[in-house]
């Protein structure tokens, strides 16, 4: 097993862990704001780690560029969605969770 294969394995496992954490957070967190927090972690870091693992195995430079482009697009989307949803929820009068 080469060193890049090993790195890919590590990155993919870490990414899958973040996806699992994001799903668990989405299921367990108490209100929409905390769930947003869980969602954006899975979006940014989880997909980022998976993409980083796959970039190491990509067959050409354009393929790597496309993978990174997909990740950037998802980051952009999740950041704007987090802001929009949180602002709308505040305007609708949903109170942030307090212990």
């Amino acid at each position: 097993m080469q060193i890049t294969d090993f790195l890919t394995l590590l990155l993919l496992f870490a990414g899958a862990g973040f996806f699992l954490a994001g799903t668990v957070g989405l299921l367990r967190f108490p209100d929409v704001y905390t769930r947003l927090h869980a969602l954006t972690k899975a979006d940014n870091v989880g997909l980022g780690l998976v993409v980083a693992g796959l970039v190491l195995q990509a067959e050409s430079w354009p393929a790597m560029g496309k993978l990174l482009l997909i990740w950037l697009l998802v980051i952009l989307a999740s950041a704007s969605v987090a802001h929009l949803v949180a602002r709308t929820a505040l305007r609708k009068g949903i109170r942030p969770w307090k212990k």
Binding site: L12, T23, L27, R35, L47, A77, V85, I94
Partner: protein, 92 residues
């Protein structure tokens, strides 16, 4: 390595199935939409993994379209379906 890619993709699909609980139970429309957003990202990740696993580079284009549509979907949801000035107390 193919086993690693397909296994990770399968694991991501299983987390997606677990996330369906949030779509069913809400309680606000935004919670359901957030779960759908997570499904979009999970689908992108598993499509990229499957593209690598089976040597089908076209699946990356499908993932790109998924990423684009996920952005448009959520923005359309907030700006059209879940705005403050329309159903202010109806679907809260």
């Amino acid at each position: 390595m193919e086993v690693l890619y397909s296994g990770t993709a399968l694991f991501l699909l299983l987390t997606l199935v677990a996330g369906l609980w949030r779509v069913l139970h809400g309680p606000t429309p935004a919670d359901r939409m957030l779960a759908a957003q997570l499904f979009g990202t999970t689908a992108v990740a598993s499509l990229l993994l499957l593209a690598q696993a089976f040597g089908r580079p076209h699946l990356r284009d499908v993932a790109l379209v998924f990423a684009l549509l996920a952005a448009v979907t959520a923005v359309a949801f907030v700006r059209r379906a879940w705005t403050v000035w329309e159903d202010d107390d109806a679907d809260n």
